[in-house]
Symmetry: C2
Subunit: 74 residues, 2 copies
Amino acid sequence: MADLNEALGEMLARYRHRANLSHEACAFECDLHPTYISQIERGLKFPTMRTLFLIGKALKVAPSQIVRDVEERL
Amino acid sequence: MADLNEALGEMLARYRHRANLSHEACAFECDLHPTYISQIERGLKFPTMRTLFLIGKALKVAPSQIVRDVEERL
Protein backbone atom coordinates (compact mmCIF):
# COMPACT_ATOMS: atom_id res chain seq x y z
CA MET A 1 0.00 0.00 0.00
CA ALA A 2 2.87 2.39 -0.74
CA ASP A 3 0.54 4.09 -3.23
CA LEU A 4 -1.97 4.85 -0.51
CA ASN A 5 0.54 6.81 1.52
CA GLU A 6 1.79 8.65 -1.55
CA ALA A 7 -1.74 9.57 -2.63
CA LEU A 8 -2.63 10.68 0.88
CA GLY A 9 0.56 12.73 1.18
CA GLU A 10 -0.10 14.46 -2.13
CA MET A 11 -3.66 15.31 -1.16
CA LEU A 12 -2.63 16.70 2.21
CA ALA A 13 0.10 18.83 0.61
CA ARG A 14 -2.43 20.11 -1.92
CA TYR A 15 -4.95 21.06 0.78
CA ARG A 16 -2.20 22.64 2.88
CA HIS A 17 -1.11 24.81 -0.04
CA ARG A 18 -4.74 25.72 -0.71
CA ALA A 19 -5.06 26.80 2.94
CA ASN A 20 -1.89 28.85 2.41
CA LEU A 21 -0.19 27.26 5.43
CA SER A 22 3.49 26.40 5.78
CA HIS A 23 4.53 23.07 7.30
CA GLU A 24 5.25 24.99 10.50
CA ALA A 25 1.88 26.77 10.60
CA CYS A 26 -0.01 23.56 9.82
CA ALA A 27 1.97 21.67 12.46
CA PHE A 28 1.24 24.39 15.01
CA GLU A 29 -2.50 24.14 14.33
CA CYS A 30 -2.40 20.34 14.67
CA ASP A 31 -0.02 20.26 17.63
CA LEU A 32 2.21 17.96 15.60
CA HIS A 33 5.85 18.36 14.53
CA PRO A 34 6.59 20.10 11.19
CA THR A 35 8.93 17.26 10.25
CA TYR A 36 6.12 14.76 10.79
CA ILE A 37 3.81 16.76 8.51
CA SER A 38 6.53 16.82 5.87
CA GLN A 39 7.13 13.07 6.20
CA ILE A 40 3.43 12.31 5.80
CA GLU A 41 3.25 14.49 2.70
CA ARG A 42 6.18 12.59 1.19
CA GLY A 43 4.53 9.24 1.94
CA LEU A 44 7.22 8.30 4.45
CA LYS A 45 4.93 8.00 7.48
CA PHE A 46 1.64 6.16 7.95
CA PRO A 47 -0.70 8.63 9.63
CA THR A 48 -3.29 7.38 12.08
CA MET A 49 -6.95 8.28 11.80
CA ARG A 50 -6.41 10.67 14.71
CA THR A 51 -3.72 12.49 12.72
CA LEU A 52 -6.01 12.67 9.68
CA PHE A 53 -8.72 14.32 11.78
CA LEU A 54 -6.24 16.78 13.33
CA ILE A 55 -4.86 17.80 9.94
CA GLY A 56 -8.34 18.02 8.41
CA LYS A 57 -9.40 20.38 11.19
CA ALA A 58 -6.30 22.55 10.71
CA LEU A 59 -6.87 22.72 6.93
CA LYS A 60 -10.65 23.14 7.27
CA VAL A 61 -11.33 20.05 5.13
CA ALA A 62 -13.58 17.16 6.16
CA PRO A 63 -11.45 14.05 6.72
CA SER A 64 -13.95 12.06 4.64
CA GLN A 65 -13.32 14.44 1.72
CA ILE A 66 -9.58 13.79 1.95
CA VAL A 67 -10.19 10.03 2.03
CA ARG A 68 -12.57 10.25 -0.94
CA ASP A 69 -9.92 12.15 -2.91
CA VAL A 70 -7.40 9.44 -2.04
CA GLU A 71 -9.81 6.69 -3.18
CA GLU A 72 -10.16 8.42 -6.54
CA ARG A 73 -6.39 8.42 -7.02
CA LEU A 74 -5.83 4.74 -6.22
CA MET B 1 -9.67 12.38 20.69
CA ALA B 2 -10.74 9.32 22.68
CA ASP B 3 -14.20 9.80 21.17
CA LEU B 4 -12.79 9.47 17.67
CA ASN B 5 -11.40 6.02 18.36
CA GLU B 6 -14.58 4.93 20.09
CA ALA B 7 -16.74 6.17 17.20
CA LEU B 8 -14.49 4.52 14.66
CA GLY B 9 -14.46 1.27 16.59
CA GLU B 10 -18.24 1.22 16.83
CA MET B 11 -18.63 1.87 13.11
CA LEU B 12 -16.17 -0.85 12.17
CA ALA B 13 -17.90 -3.35 14.47
CA ARG B 14 -21.24 -2.42 12.91
CA TYR B 15 -19.96 -2.88 9.35
CA ARG B 16 -18.26 -6.15 10.33
CA HIS B 17 -21.51 -7.51 11.75
CA ARG B 18 -23.35 -6.33 8.66
CA ALA B 19 -20.82 -8.25 6.53
CA ASN B 20 -21.47 -11.25 8.79
CA LEU B 21 -17.78 -11.72 9.52
CA SER B 22 -16.22 -12.83 12.79
CA HIS B 23 -13.13 -11.06 14.13
CA GLU B 24 -11.14 -14.01 12.82
CA ALA B 25 -12.66 -13.94 9.33
CA CYS B 26 -12.27 -10.18 9.08
CA ALA B 27 -8.67 -10.39 10.29
CA PHE B 28 -7.93 -13.12 7.75
CA GLU B 29 -9.27 -10.94 4.91
CA CYS B 30 -7.17 -7.97 6.08
CA ASP B 31 -4.05 -9.97 6.92
CA LEU B 32 -4.21 -8.48 10.42
CA HIS B 33 -4.47 -10.17 13.83
CA PRO B 34 -7.96 -10.87 15.27
CA THR B 35 -6.89 -9.31 18.57
CA TYR B 36 -5.91 -6.12 16.75
CA ILE B 37 -9.32 -5.94 15.06
CA SER B 38 -10.98 -6.40 18.44
CA GLN B 39 -8.80 -3.70 20.03
CA ILE B 40 -9.64 -1.22 17.27
CA GLU B 41 -13.35 -1.93 17.70
CA ARG B 42 -13.07 -1.24 21.43
CA GLY B 43 -11.25 2.05 20.80
CA LEU B 44 -8.04 0.76 22.35
CA LYS B 45 -5.84 1.08 19.28
CA PHE B 46 -5.37 3.98 16.86
CA PRO B 47 -5.61 2.49 13.38
CA THR B 48 -3.56 3.94 10.57
CA MET B 49 -5.05 5.00 7.27
CA ARG B 50 -3.57 1.84 5.78
CA THR B 51 -5.49 -0.27 8.29
CA LEU B 52 -8.69 1.63 7.52
CA PHE B 53 -8.31 0.86 3.82
CA LEU B 54 -7.56 -2.83 4.51
CA ILE B 55 -10.61 -3.21 6.75
CA GLY B 56 -12.82 -1.27 4.33
CA LYS B 57 -11.78 -3.63 1.54
CA ALA B 58 -12.51 -6.70 3.67
CA LEU B 59 -15.93 -5.35 4.66
CA LYS B 60 -16.72 -4.03 1.17
CA VAL B 61 -17.27 -0.48 2.46
CA ALA B 62 -15.56 2.60 1.05
CA PRO B 63 -13.14 3.99 3.64
CA SER B 64 -14.56 7.48 3.00
CA GLN B 65 -18.01 6.16 3.97
CA ILE B 66 -16.65 4.88 7.28
CA VAL B 67 -14.96 8.23 7.93
CA ARG B 68 -18.15 10.12 7.05
CA ASP B 69 -20.10 7.95 9.51
CA VAL B 70 -17.50 8.72 12.18
CA GLU B 71 -17.74 12.47 11.48
CA GLU B 72 -21.50 12.32 12.00
CA ARG B 73 -21.04 10.69 15.40
CA LEU B 74 -18.52 13.21 16.75
